[in-house]
């Protein structure tokens, strides 16, 4: 078993709005090992992205705040670092790939400019070596003609290529942890597949730990080693990908998996979950999934289920699981 790169313990993140406190992340714990991909899956608005931003400490100020918990990256609690040190960690130790390749590159600077910025900042390199580093980052993401690309502007590239550039920026300093927030959602299916393959490739080459945030179980099955299912600010089930597909323990996980179209079961009707996720301002009493749960019991409406460890890698929060 390789080293744990990131350990998140009981993370609480809230947004303080005029309407009240919005508990976007409400007690999330997980860890990622070196060279491993941990997937966070859930419907939009469940707090996946906020978890990612909390790790980077890039919540919108002053409304968003981590109220409780620990984020330990290689032994250091990120929440205790000074702003300056944290900044030094970003890009160098942790990096992130954002969802929309069309908007996540600055339109007025060249690709080379945007990558070299990171390189210069985090790697103490002589100026003549910067470009080489930039090009090697582009190569890492298998971008053709990297020498030409460095002089181009984002709008001159296709969506897929832009997302690779974003990846190159993220990987330019060989971080220990990469958070990928729905990096493939905006891409076409074929390009998506290529891009996912790239991730595996990168991981092999750099041994980076990856947190892969997505709403798509298909993607999870393709790339993740372990997965956490998140619902309304909480991770309801954590398990190795294979286990979760084989035997989902939480009704929500089960419902999500059954709503994924599968090629081999053509005639079956797709399952969908009734109702809407709850307002994070006014969480239902008891289990947060209970209003939509088809197998809810009385206790579900009264008390929040505790986390139950089924084995070393599989834990679940549900009254039905004992």
């Amino acid at each position: 078993m390789s080293n744990i790169v990131l350990q998140v313990e009981d993370l609480h993140t809230s947004f303080f709005t005029r309407a009240g406190e919005v508990k976007a992340v409400d007690g999330v714990s997980f860890f990622v090992r070196e060279g491993e991909t941990f997937g966070i899956v859930g419907e939009s608005g469940c707090g996946k992205s906020v978890t990612g931003l909390s790790i980077l400490r890039l919540l919108p100020e002053p409304s968003g705040q981590v109220t409780k918990g620990k984020i330990i990256l290689e032994g250091k609690n990120l929440l205790e670092l000074s702003k300056k040190t944290m900044r030094a960690y970003r890009g160098k130790m942790i990096s992130m790939i954002l969802q929309d390749p069309m908007t996540s590159l600055n339109p007025v600077y060249t690709i080379g400019d945007q990558i070299s910025e990171s390189v210069r900042l985090h790697q103490d390199l002589p100026e003549n070596m910067v470009e080489g580093e930039v090009i090697s980052a582009l190569r890492l993401l298998r971008i053709p003609d990297p020498e030409v690309r460095t002089r181009e502007y984002p709008f001159q590239l296709s969506g897929g290529m832009r997302q690779r550039v974003v990846g190159a920026i993220a990987m330019s300093c060989r971080p220990r942890l990469l958070i990928a927030d729905e990096p493939t959602t905006a891409l076409d299916a074929t390009i998506q597949a290529q891009y996912l393959a790239l991730f595996e490739d990168i991981q092999v080459k750099t041994n980076v730990a990856i947190i892969f945030i997505t709403h798509d179980f298909g993607v999870i099955s393709r790339i993740c080693d372990r997965v956490g299912v998140m619902y309304a600010g909480k991770i309801l089930e954590t398990a190795p990908t294979r286990d979760i597909f084989k035997a989902p323990k939480h009704p929500y996980t089960a419902a999500l998996i059954s709503s994924v179209p599968q090629l081999d079961k053509k005639d079956e009707k797709l399952f969908s979950i009734e109702g809407q996720p709850p307002s994070l301002l006014h969480l239902p009493p008891g289990c947060r999934f209970q209003p939509r749960c088809t197998v809810a019991m009385d206790i579900c409406k009264e008390q929040e289920p505790p986390e139950v460890k089924l084995d070393e890698n599989h834990s679940v929060s549900c009254w039905r699981v004992k």
Partner: protein
């Protein structure tokens, strides 16, 4: 906000009661002010339904009482009860003048808004829907119109056709359409791409039909927002023209012209400029708030307008 779009709405679902009341106040107060002003304008006198002697204005706005000149408002020391808001240099009743002034100021701005919205909408839809050369041409003209000083045009018209009510209307209209055209074009461009427009085209609807049957109903919201926001702009523009002496001809009162009349008296008869000035401020604010409210309600995307 970094939180995703879907979530943002949910945050506001449980608004506090006080917040809701304040939100409604931003609708109720401006709407009340505007409606009040329109009523005042309409009922200054009832001459238009054959009852010239009945009306809100206590006096003829142009009747002079030289011995009562520059009297302060009746609620102040030295004021006379005949003149609620005091008198101007010729002893004219300021209250009556402000009431009649509402008629001119509001009618000018409403007429101008109607004309400019009409022209702007037609050109905007045409430009956005047709695209190509027509679009390029209309947008170039719009760019120039947007950056051409309307004041100069007002001067040119003043010289060419002489002063008067319709000169003011024309001066404010000639360039005013450009703002609408640019905005409507953007909206039309967006809607042009939508499926129902394509569908209409597939079944062979004529250009004009598509433009007004399919595109127009989808931009009405934005149009209403801009038109509301323009009320204040037009009132201010009319006031600026009056200040420079390019406005409505005397003795007809408009809010702008009363402010202008009073500007030389500011140091000794502040009420002449202050009351119509407050009316201008109120209506401008009311228009802006109402516009904001409608925009938030109908089309939050238009934040930048």
């Amino acid at each position: 906000m970094v939180i995703e779009k879907g979530k943002k709405k949910k945050i506001y679902t449980g608004l506090k009661r006080s917040t809701r009341i304040i939100r409604n106040l931003t609708l109720i107060i401006p709407a009340a002010i505007l409606i009040l002003m329109i009523i005042v304008a309409l009922f200054a006198d009832l001459g238009w339904i054959g009852l010239p002697d009945i009306g809100l204005a206590p006096q003829d706005p142009n009747a002079t009482h030289p011995r009562d000149k520059l009297l302060p408002p009746s609620f102040m020391e030295g004021g006379k009860s005949d003149y609620f808001l005091g008198t101007d240099r010729l002893g004219r009743d300021l209250f009556s003048r402000v009431i009649y002034g509402a008629r001119v100021s509001l009618s000018v701005s409403l007429i101008v808004i109607f004309i400019t919205a009409l022209i702007g909408t037609i050109l905007g839809i045409l430009s956005g829907y047709k695209g190509g050369r027509a679009d390029a041409f209309i947008m170039r003209v719009t760019d120039v119109a947007l950056s051409f000083p309307g004041l100069l045009l007002a001067m040119l018209l003043w010289v060419a056709i002489g002063p008067g009510y319709w000169t003011v209307v024309l001066a404010l209209s000639v360039l005013g359409w450009a703002g609408y055209a640019r905005m409507i074009r953007g909206e039309s461009l967006r809607i042009r791409e939508s499926d129902f427009v394509a569908q209409a085209q597939v079944v062979g609807a004529t250009t004009w039909r598509v433009m007004f049957k399919h595109i127009f109903p989808n931009i009405v919201n934005s149009l209403i927002v801009i038109m509301t926001l323009q009320i204040g702009m037009m009132i201010l523009a009319e006031a600026a023209l009056s200040f420079l002496g390019l406005g409505i001809t005397a003795p007809t009162a408009s809010w702008g012209s009363i402010v202008a009349d009073g500007r030389t008296e500011l140091d000794r008869a502040w009420w002449i400029s202050a009351f119509p000035g407050i009316c201008i401020g109120l209506v401008v604010m009311a228009g802006n708030f109402l516009g904001d409210w409608i925009r938030d309600k109908l089309d939050p995307r238009l934040r930048q307008l």
